[in-house]
Symmetry: C2
Subunit: 341 residues, 2 copies
DNA sequence: ATGAAAGCGCTAACAG
DNA sequence: CTGTTAGCGCTTTCAT
């Protein structure tokens, strides 16, 4: 069913059909109504290829995330979707699995498909990979900082300082020997946390001990394993900072199995603020990442860019959205430890 | 950058350019190489609109799910993505929020966009809504049964009999007064579980008591609330079947807070087999849904359909993939209760 | 207010 | 093996 058939049946030219779709006010009310009815009866739906070919606009934005089975990224997606849906845009969702070449492949694909905008989450690309995109005047917004990719529109949260805040809080409570279990993935994010850890420990005049830092896979099992290693140390830490809640849960399981009490014997602090973290025993102190909000803000920025609203100044924006420490019981905060719930 | 410019610079016709892209063997090796180089230097990327307009193929399949912040649906998405990526297809992901009109809107959108195939998860559509799609010869595969939408290619799991299996297991263990907390969403799925519950209870000759069935929002809080109601009953159940693990976690929290022991005082069985369910205390007996597999199988079926492989018989397929009961400690299974881990 | 017609970039049938 | 050319369905000048 195409525009020609509708035109024929309605007894008008294709131009008029096109007009009722694109500039309804430019056509006589009765003709319009008549045509609308014909369209209905023929179940006509305009062909987006033809339209796109002409207008060079797709009504699609691409969202590239590292991994689909990760609540955090999905929250970003939810934020993006909220804006996109309101703007009547569709989302093409692709996952990179933290593979730079896969990421590049998708970017090429997006360019060929002429998506109207791209949101890149935790990208591994470098500035040089970006030349291609720039030439296409496709709007791009990055979520998550990456030192190798600068000068682009960016929405991010500061994992390093958020980690610093968490560590400082542990120190305030009185912990001196603080260990760390950090996840192999997500890579960039966890490197920031590690640096935040190192920096804060040294700044606060504590002893920075590499043997108190272990790397494990980002999973319950990984946390379990990491805690095992730390507990086996002759001089084991009295508090552990874990780079994800999911690992923290595994670590807590191990600590409990070892017959130790959290936080009395060993305190634990996580990262992510999963829903579940507020319900496990003891409730997990953790850092809440503003994922949904980052998705929302990034999408809004992208649409502004696409609509040319921010072209005036032209300078790429960098928007920082802070993460927030959620103090609960597992860190050993005195007020909380005394709480029953 | 278009095919014409490349042709000009290469000193050949556009047809030859098109050929190196689509039928590389039909062009002389040296011409081909020459053209490839020119393309590279011009950073030429074919325009998919033009191509799609001509071929009426997009290289995109649409995946419509109810909700993005749900691990189960995301596992399906992962399965679909695995197949799609291998076939060099992109996925357009959209969410319906269990809103039939939103779902219909997206379907229209997919038709206009001429996606090559559609996978509908837990669709609320009726047969009548499908006339439109059928006319377009777009392949469709459904995931999740829906009585109002029949005669389509379908991949599903049987929640009713899976629930039956769970309940029967509880009965075998010796529980007689079995209650149920069921989540408002996902609607169709939970109606099946409710029916499975009712049927099994009656079939096994137990007393079916509506007051032992409560409906709550599908969340930790909902489970907590549901358990509260059940515990407040004068004649409270000695075992509770909960339609989702996330609710079961809330219910367990409430039960513990009430000073009761799981499973000794009250047994709990969940549904979903979340990762976390194997780590909470006591480990949760639950039903594992084959989400990833359903996504995988549905996508394969879709591509078969698209490639015409199954057109021979033409009959729509219905593929059942069974859910599986995971017996752990929370249900009070004797062998498990005695286990330390 | 409406129509005629030129293309958007590409593919494939046809001719050489 | 390569070139010419007719569309694919739509939007948009430019006329009327």
């Amino acid at each position: 069913m195409n525009i020609k058939a509708v035109a024929k049946k309605a007894g008008v030219s294709v131009a008029t059909i096109s007009r009722v779709l694109n500039h309804p006010d430019a056509v006589a009310p009765d003709t319009k109504e008549h045509i609308l009815k014909i369209m209905e009866s023929l179940e006509y739906t305009p062909n987006w290829f033809a339209r796109g070919l002409k207008l060079n606009r797709t009504g699609v934005i691409a969202l590239l995330i590292p991994e689909i089975l990760d609540m955090g990224y999905m929250e970003i997606a939810k934020g993006v979707e909220a804006v996109a849906h309101q703007k009547k845009y569709n989302i093409m969702l692709c996952t990179t699995e933290e593979d730079r070449s896969k990421e590049k492949g998708y970017i090429e694909n997006f360019i060929a498909r002429k998506v109207d905008g791209i949101i890149l989450v935790s990208s591994f690309l470098k500035n040089s990979d970006f030349d291609q995109i720039k030439k296409q005047d496709i709007s791009v917004v990055l979520i998550g900082k990456n030192e190798e990719l600068t000068g682009e529109n960016l929405v991010y949260t500061d994992y390093q300082s958020a980690t610093g805040e968490a560590i400082r809080h542990m120190i305030e409570i009185g912990h001196r020997k603080i260990g760390m279990i950090y996840g192999t993935r997500p890579k960039i994010e966890n490197m920031d946390k590690r640096e935040g850890f190192r920096k804060t420990i040294t700044e606060e005049g504590l002893n920075y001990r590499p043997e108190h830092i272990v790397e494990e896979e980002n999973s319950i099992e990984g946390g379990f394993l990491g805690a095992s290693k730390l507990l086996n140390l002759k001089d084991r830490p009295e508090a552990i900072f874990v780079t994800s809640d999911i690992m923290a849960i595994g670590a807590m399981e191990k600590i409990k199995q070892a017959g130790l009490k959290i936080p009395q014997d060993i305190a634990v602090v996580g990262f992510d603020n999963l829903k579940i973290s507020g319900y496990i025993e003891p409730k997990l102190t953790t850092v809440a990442k503003p994922m949904y909000r980052m998705g929302l803000v990034a999408a809004r920025l992208l649409f502004d860019l696409m609509e040319g609203d921010r072209e005036e100044d032209g300078e790429p924006q960098e928007i920082l959205i802070q993460s927030k420490l959620k103090v609960r019981k597992s860190c050993g905060h005195l007020d909380r430890v005394k709480e029953i719930f």
